[in-house]
Each structure stands twice: as structure tokens, then as C-alpha cells.
Symmetry: C2
Subunit: 615 residues, 2 copies
């Protein structure tokens, strides 16, 4: 295949965007803004579209690298910075958040307080610019420019020509500045703040920047490509809220109704739209409609919303998929290999261990079904293992619910064990705070399910009749492979066994070696470990069991390391002695082979049972 | 445990709601509405809270069964019915969707057209009532009452006393009716429509009903408990949009900013809030603030939003978790058991089979990462198996993307196979429509991964050197267990074999039977099937292989059925003959047991390899 003319794999999303771009390019309605000479110079045919997912996948078509000034699209981003600098209370005191139903340049100050109705109209934006911290006007603007650059993921700059043009003609905005000063919604001389406002509008961006900035808002304020935080996550919802209700001026209600994606436009032809948690959209086309919005920009957003089903209020039902798998300790054992008797005990006892593998984002609506499911079967549960390996995020609300669950089950003398939760530091932090001095006792965590299962099994087996003393040593006659052997048969076999002893941590079998012997464990525990970076245990054996028999039987090199967990005593039999046994005492060899077959059959049945859990 | 005093497992969510209820109950601010005598009779201390998830879990505290009249909360529900009766265009022509910043009883007609600004103010609600279809005023109201009952999941009724009281005092609303008639926003006599409006406001509900009605909107218009559709899914986003921008009157911007959940309140003290896809909230407390909103209702919504992190714009990042697992055909084979040579071939060849197990809701933002991942490795993929078993829903946007992917890979001579997609009829419908006459060729579906994997493997093996002719018959000397046997050894073993023949579909081994023989397959195929309702294949064997050896070796009753897939010829050996063989020809028995050990070891290694895929 490789040498044939294989078509390049252009994403269907790219194809779709290209088609959409071509369709909308045919629309020649609208006029380039002319209120300052610099904007009038724009080529009316420029047209770029860029979609960036909250994970950072970028799709772009057309003039996406053509620079233009950000204009009013600066407003929500400066508002976010104002929130970071002042908090919500002070910011709300200076600028409201109510839609006005008025046009973008309306003054719209509250008659009583002089407070601008919202930060998306010019008056509100100028009041917002006045909230940006910094010792000098220059340092205040520098912070704005740096913040915008964090959103865009590249260094942005001021378009000085446009700025001077804005400044020369900006008398209406200067009037607004003085009016705000009159109502004490600006402090000191309003002129420097008005200049900052002119400058923020004159920052040069391209269509791809708008897509990235939108995606940064969609991704909780973190640029999905650079991983840098442009806005503290807690303020993202506030920025999106004002975009949602006030972003499209007197068109806000209809916009939310028809498009359902918070958006902001600028008179240079840019449109930026954000679907929280999903995608950011940037469009650039300088032809404007009577509202001052880009004609093609509006149309692209409408089409994307309709064709990609992006309406904010058209959300799939959450919560059905949080439980990835649920199984009991009887269906799936730890890799601690048990004796036949222990295995039989566990098949009954371990039903009280329930493992829940959770996945996705844990928030209220997705965690609630887990609590409900656990509590419905709480009577049958003694140990609850919550496997968070595939949980992508956990918010405070989910943390509270899990904390309550732990407390409630503990009060009923049940145990909750968390596995794979290192990537969710909020969980540990919340548990520590809320459990206080009961933290160590109640917040039980394990690196993986296997160790958690083993811990539960050990507790369940502790008081059963088959429990061995901790330092139990099996006599050769107790080895499982010899369990039906007569004294006469034992007399033949035992001289073939060669004793070995190992210290804790010592490697008994090395992966890659040729397999020339099979082992019988007399005392201590050994574990089979994959030779990878992280500890991955395949099995742990106890006294009486044999190990290393698979490679011994099929002649394949050792596939894993076998390591002594404790002081270990064992016996080995070599391949040569095993072959000789067949010649001299075939009946005994047949007996041993049959026992090996039995052992393998048991292991295979267990593996197949466990595979069916994941079917 | 069962006999001890185990505490009842009250959900922590119930506890949380109880605490919140108790805290807010202390708030005695606000006054019961008095504009009609009936409302003034309400006990100011009544207070109920109910949360219903979009999956139908109900949590309620306080006076949740106390009846009261729905009042303005009727407006979004009647608006939904108007959309169903008239479509968006006609409805928008009669009533706008822009927030007004005005109070609930403001007339707010557009000065030019007389169109009410939105359906949440009285003027808009009366115009909306005028859009409800029906031959008589009685039948129009009956449709409204029936629709509300579908939302609530129980039969609701009119509170006649309140209705008469509303009607007697409703002069302002009558004035609005005539004004609307003047602008042709109502047709015919406005009086019957005004009466319908009075009646819709006088429908009696309780707090739990509000929670259910909200959850129905959160669940795409389907009541999550009854499963009945109250509103066509396509109109849910429109109803929620007007609630979002206009639901809280002149408080809408601040509400979205602070609470971020579309909501509607009524003067009898009800508040209803909807978080799409997640939960519905109903609150009832008759003390109202100056805006006419329930004081405790507002507070409960604020607290729930804050404590449960419910803000609409604070969404986790989608798309990271769509791919549940991905593995190649070399890591996980079909259960068609292969010969050693075929197995070796497949370990290399089957790398070009890639299985993607998808999960959750497939929409644009969650499907995009799948496409990206597939296309990035498209060069290495020859067969793409998309397992949709855990996909909960699929929207048109995702359907388009999958269709494009199928076409693109087909053009590059690659094959896409879908498995477990019967529960997503939209996928088949869209593929049928879009692929047209290429549908049968390109939309390849299998009931499970196993059959899809097998189909791919068969194609890969077709031209390899180890392929057998379709009707190939293995001679006993070709049986794998005898592969190292000398002629002399064969001469001993072959007389022990008893030939058997089976017709397609005939059961060779019955689950539950004692295992008294092991089989050698000479011709045809046999499959191991779990004795369950649906076909669940554990393995398929080909000529030369043995089957039924596990129970033969460990003496456990047969655990599955083994059925002839084709005309089958095989040989069997009985337990007695196998035992006798050990006595008379121990060396041969040792050889057979060693071969069985080898076979079991291979199967165990394969099962362990497959288990690690799901680690």
C-alpha cells in the first residue's frame, strides 16, 4: 500500500470547513467599517475560519494568518483581567452585567448610580479598563497585551497606526470617560484609561489567534497548546456569562436562541465564539451588517451551530456512563495466587468486595448515579474499591459526595479503598480537610486495584480455617503437585529437589533467561513482575505452590522476573531430572504432568472468567 | 452484619439537601403575594425543595407535596407547545426572544410591530397562549393541561378557585389582550385567549412536580420516569434559551452570571431551574422579594449552583474520554483458535487491524478526537473496527463525521467495520441516506468484535502459505497433539480413536455433562458457546485441533456447549482409554500430556496477553 498513490488523509472536519468557507465566501453582503481610515483599508474579501477544540486540535481555512485589530473582542478578555485584579464584588460595583437591548456605542449608564449596564458596551469596557492594575498607564496596557498573548499562545503586538487613528477620532469614547469619572466609576484623570481602551482595541491578531483565544476560554482559561493559564478558571464562567447575555448587543436574545454559543464580535470583522468545554471558533471577514457584526462571521457561527449541533442547551444526558465496569472480588481476584481451598473460600467470601471502575469527569450529575448504585447494594458490600484510573477530572462537588460516602460506609463498618487517584490531588486535599484526624484511618488509597483487592482478600481470609501462620513452611510432601503422591512415590521424587534460599528483593528468575528449572515454594512469598519501569505484578505465590512452570513446559525464554518478597526457601527440579524421571518412573511423571495440566486448566479458567468481566 | 443495627443508607445527597433546607428555612424575608385573595391564604412557612436528575433520581425535602398554582412557570411550557403547534418562524413572528430589562407585568410591545419582546412577560405569554391549537377554548386548554401532565408524570388539574380569582381581577392582562389584538398578534376575540392564560397560571402543582418538569426539560423533553415525551427534543433548546435570557425578568443578566442555570419563577412561590442534560430543580416557598421571586427559591438555586458547581458555563473539557480502549488485532485475536503457524502469521499480519472501543455521547467535540487519532495512524491501518457498545448516544454531527471517515478510508482501500451499533438507529439511517447505492458495500456491521475480528483475520490469512482448502480434512497423523509422534507411536494411539460425524448445528458437547472424552477435529469447524440466551462464542476450532480437553483433564462438568458450525468429522478418545494408555505405553502418554501442557500454556499466555489490554 505504502508505495501506491494513497490519498493524503485530510480530516473530514477540514473538508467540511473548506466547503462551508466556500459557501459563505459567496456572500458579498455588508460593508467594511469606515469610521476610522485604517479600517477602511481592509480588503472586503478577506475571509478566514478557524476551529480549535478545547483539547487543542486546530482546523483552519482561508485568510487565517491575515492580521487585523481585535477591537471589541478585547472587551471580555480585559473584563477577565479586571476580575482577577479586583474580584467579583468590586468589579460588579463598577460595571453591571445586565443586557441593555441597546447598540454597542450607547452610553447606557444606570440613571441613579452612573454604573454602565455591562462590560460589553463601550462605557462598560472603558470602566473595565480603569480596573486594570499597574503603576503606570504603560504597565497597565503591558499587562493587557501579555494576557492576550497568553490566550493566543504567541506574542501579540499593538497596531500603532490603528491606535493613533482610534485615538484621534475617539471623542465619543472620551466623553464616556468623563461621564464615568463624574459618577466615580473611574478614578483620577480619565484620559489615560481611555487611551488604554483605544490600545486594547488596536491589538493586532489573526483569525487563528481568535480561535485559540476562544479555545482557551473553552478550556477553563488554559491555552490548550501551550498549557499556560491565561485566566483563572473561577472567572471563566463570569466572562462567558457576559458574552452570553451581552456579547451581541441588541441581538443577544436572538443569538442565544438561534446560535446558542456565547460570542463577541469586533468592527474590524472578527467574531469569536466559545462553547465551554468543547470548542473555540474564530472568524474573520471585514464586511459588517447594520449592527456592526461581520456578516460572514455571523453566518459561519450559525451554520456551525446548526450543522455541528453546538447549541449550548442541547446537551446529552450526563451520568449514565460514569460506571465503566463493576465487578465483585469473586469475579476477579487479586494476582495473589491462592490455594485451592483459599480459592474456594474466596469465591464465596469475596462477593462482599465490589470494584467500581469510574470514568470521565466526576461532577455532581455524574457522581450521583455512582452513589445511588453503591447505596442500593450497600447491604451486600463490605469493601468498596473505587478505581479512579480513567477519571479525567473531579470537582469539589464530586469530592464532597465521595467524602460523605466514605463517612457513611465507615459508620456502617464498611471500608472504602481508592485506587489510581494520584492524578486527582483535589480529592486528597478535600479528604484531608474534611476527615481531619480520621484522614489516615478513613482515606485508604492503593496504587492499583490488584493491591487493593489483595488487601481485602487478606482480611477476608484472616479468620478462615485454611489460613497459614505467617512464617509457615511447607514440607515437600505438602507441595500441591505432590498432593496425591504415596510415600513410595515421594521417595522417588524428593531426591530430585534441590533446595535454594533467597533474601527479600532478590531475583529468582530473570526475564529473557532460558528456562531450565521449575520451582516449589516452601516458605515466604514470591512475585512475578513484568520487567517494565513501573511495578506491574502478574502473580504472587505462597508456600506449597510451584512457579516458573510455563517456560519450563514450553521452552520459551522467561517472560517475566520472579522476585522474593520475603525470605524465601524453595526447591527446584531441573529439566534434565524431569526428563530422566520420565524414563525411570513414567507413572510418577504422568502423575506430575496431570497435576500440571490441572493447575494450568485452573489458571486458564480463571483468566477466561476475568476476561468475561471486560467483555 | 444484617442482624446488627446497620444505619439506613440515606444518600449523602439527601442529607445535603436536608441541611440546605434547614439553613434556608431560617430566612423569613419576603411577603406572600396578595394581589388575589387566594394566594394570600398561603402559609408563609411552606417550604419544599426537590432535585430530579435527568436520569430520574429524585431527592426531596420539606413540603414537596403541598399543592400551589404554577403561575408564570407555565409560560415556558406553553411556549414549547406553541413551538410544536406553529414551528419557530410563525412563533417568532408573534413573540420575540429579546430580554427587556423590564418587570414581569410590563407590556413591552415593540413600538413598530406590536410584537411582545419575549414570551416570559405577560404580554408575550398571552400572545403565546393565542398560538395553541384547538377547535374550542376548552380543547386548547385541555391540550395545555395534558402537556403539563406529561411533563409532571402525573395527572394535573386546574385550581378553579384561583382561576376565578385571577379572572375577576385580571384587567391589566385583559388590556394586554386587546392591545395584542390591535396589533394582530392575537386573532379573533382576545377574551377566550386571556381566559386560557388565566387558566394555565392556575394549574395546581406541587414542588416535586416542578422538579420532574424541570428534569423533563433537562432530559430532552422526555420525562425520565415515565419515558413519555412532553416536548419534541428539537424545541427544548428554544424553551431553555428564553428561560435563560428572559426567565428572571430584569434580573436575567445577574441570574445567568451568578447562578448560571436557566430558571423561571411564579408568584405563588414556585421556582423551576434546568441544567440541560443534568438536573431539574423545583423549589416552593411563598415569601416573595420585590421582583416577585420566591426569596428562598432564589437562595436555594444560588446555593445549589455554588455548592454543586452547576454553573452552565463551568463545564469539564469534553472529548478526552471517548476512546475507552484501543488495541490491534495482534494484541487481541478473535476466538477463532488458530494453528501455531496461523497464529504466528497473525501476530505480524493482524497489526493492521485496529479496534477502537468508543464510549459516552458521540457529538462533534467527542468524535473529533477519534477521527484525529484514526487519521494520524491511518497509514498503519487496513481494517478499522469501531466498537460502539458503550456509546450512549450519537447525534447527526457525529454521524456525518463517521460517514466521512468511512468514505475516506474506503477510497484508500481500507475497511471500516462497526460493531454493537443496533442501539443507534440514527447511524444506520444516516449511512443509508448518505452512502445511497454504496450502503451495502461500505456500511459493514457485526454484532460483536469477535466476529468482526474473525472476518478481518480470515481476509488476512486467505493468501498466506498456511491456508487450508475450505473442505480440508486432517489425517490423524496431522492432529497437533500427535505432531512429534513416530509411526510406531501413531500405531499405538490411532486404534484408540473413535470416529464421529455431526451435522451443522448439532451439539457435540452439552454444558453440564460429565466429561468422559476429548475430541480431535478432522474436518469442519466447531464453536464453543456459552449456554446463555444470546449467542456468545468462546472459541472456534479448525481441523487438526483438539477440543473438550479442559474438563477431560480436571474432571469438572462441561461448562459450555460445543456445536458443529459445518459438517464435522472428528475422533474422540475416552478417559478409560487414556488411562489405559498410561499403563501400557507410559512414554506415549507422557508425550501427549506434554503436548497438552504446551497447548494449555499457549492458551494461558494468550489470555494473559488479552487481559493486559484491559488493564
Amino acid at each position: 500500500m505504502k508505495n501506491n498513490a494513497v490519498p493524503a488523509f485530510v480530516s473530514p472536519i477540514q473538508d467540511f470547513l473548506k466547503d462551508l468557507h466556500a459557501q459563505c465566501a459567496a456572500d458579498k453582503d455588508g460593508q467594511v467599517a469606515t469610521y476610522i481610515p485604517e479600517l477602511a483599508k481592509a480588503n472586503p474579501n478577506w475571509f478566514g475560519v478557524c476551529i480549535v477544540t478545547a483539547n487543542g486540535a486546530v482546523y483552519e481555512v482561508g485568510d487565517t494568518r491575515q492580521e487585523f485589530t481585535i477591537q471589541s473582542i478585547s472587551k471580555p478578555f480585559v473584563y477577565g483581567l479586571a476580575l482577577e485584579d479586583n474580584g467579583r464584588t468590586t468589579t460588579l460595583d463598577r460595571v453591571g452585567v445586565e443586557p441593555t437591548g441597546d447598540a454597542f456605542n450607547s452610553i447606557s449608564l444606570d440613571p441613579g448610580t452612573g454604573r454602565p449596564r455591562n462590560p460589553m458596551i463601550n462605557a462598560g469596557a472603558i470602566a473595565t479598563a480603569g480596573l486594570i492594575a499597574g503603576k503606570t498607564p504603560a504597565s497597565r496596557f503591558k499587562r493587557i497585551l501579555e494576557t492576550f498573548s497568553l490566550y493566543a499562545g504567541r506574542e501579540l503586538s499593538l497596531d500603532d497606526t490603528v491606535y493613533r487613528s482610534e485615538s484621534e477620532t475617539g471623542h465619543r469614547n472620551r466623553a464616556i470617560g468623563h461621564m464615568l469619572r463624574n459618577f466615580d466609576k473611574l478614578t483620577g484623570d480619565p484620559a489615560p484609561t481611555t487611551e488604554i481602551y483605544f490600545k486594547q482595541c488596536s491589538i493586532s491578531v489573526n483569525c487563528r489567534d481568535l480561535g485559540m483565544m476562544a479555545a482557551t476560554l473553552a478550556n477553563h482559561g488554559v491555552n490548550p497548546l501551550t498549557g499556560k493559564q491565561a485566566l483563572r478558571g473561577e472567572y471563566v464562567e463570569s466572562v462567558l456569562s457576559v458574552m452570553g447575555t451581552c456579547g451581541m448587543y441588541d441581538y443577544a436574545g436572538e443569538w442565544l436562541y438561534n446560535v446558542g454559543i456565547p460570542a463577541k464580535s469586533g468592527v474590524a470583522g472578527g467574531v469569536l465564539a466559545v462553547l465551554p468545554g468543547q470548542i473555540g471558533i474564530g472568524v474573520f471577514s471585514p464586511r459588517l451588517d447594520a449592527h456592526g457584526n461581520s456578516v460572514r462571521g455571523i453566518r459561519i457561527c450559525q451554520e456551525l451551530s446548526r450543522r455541528l449541533d453546538l447549541h449550548l442547551f442541547n446537551r446529552p444526558v450526563a451520568g449514565k456512563s460514569t460506571i465503566r465496569a463493576r465487578f465483585s472480588g469473586a469475579e476477579f481476584n487479586s494476582s495473589h495466587v491462592r490455594t485451592k481451598e483459599e480459592g474456594q473460600d474466596l469465591r464465596e467470601l469475596a462477593k462482599v468486595i465490589q470494584v467500581y471502575q469510574l470514568q470521565g469527569h466526576l461532577e455532581f450529575a455524574t457522581t450521583e448515579p455512582v452513589l445511588r448504585d453503591v447505596l442500593e447494594r450497600a447491604d451486600e458490600i463490605q469493601f468498596l474499591i473505587l478505581d479512579l484510573k480513567r477519571v479525567l477530572s473531579l470537582n469539589e462537588s464530586a469530592g464532597h459526595l465521595l467524602h460523605s460516602l466514605v463517612g457513611k460506609l465507615h459508620d456502617a463498618k464498611k471500608t472504602v479503598l481508592f485506587t489510581h487517584c494520584e492524578h486527582l490531588p483535589l480529592l486528597r486535599r478535600m479528604m484531608k480537610k474534611k476527615l481531619a484526624d480520621r484522614f489516615t484511618e478513613l482515606f485508604s488509597t492503593y496504587p492499583d486495584n490488584d493491591l487493593a483487592l489483595e488487601a481485602c482478600e487478606e482480611q477476608l481470609l484472616e479468620h478462615t480455617r485454611h489460613a497459614h501462620a505467617p512464617n509457615y513452611k511447607a514440607k515437600p510432601a505438602d507441595y500441591h503437585l505432590f498432593q496425591d503422591f504415596s510415600d513410595a512415590e515421594l521417595k522417588v521424587v524428593l531426591p530430585l529437589l534441590k533446595p535454594r534460599a533467597y533474601k527479600p528483593g532478590q531475583t529468582i528468575i530473570h526475564a529473557g533467561d532460558a528456562a531450565r528449572e521449575m520451582f516449589f515454594l516452601a516458605r515466604g512469598h514470591v512475585s512475578v513482575l513484568l520487567p517494565a519501569e513501573e511495578r506491574h505484578r502478574l502473580a504472587t505465590f505462597s508456600p506449597g505452590m510451584s512457579f516458573g512452570e510455563m517456560a519450563f513446559l514450553d521452552g520459551v525464554p522467561r517472560s517475566a522476573n520472579i522476585v522474593a518478597d520475603t525470605d524465601v526457601e524453595c526447591d527446584l527440579i531441573t529439566l534434565e531430572d524431569f526428563q530422566t524421571l520420565g524414563k525411570n518412573h513414567p507413572a510418577i511423571k504422568i502423575k506430575m504432568l496431570q497435576m500440571l495440566c490441572l493447575d494450568l486448566t485452573g489458571k486458564l479458567r480463571k483468566a477466561n472468567r476475568e476476561l468475561s468481566v471486560f467483555e
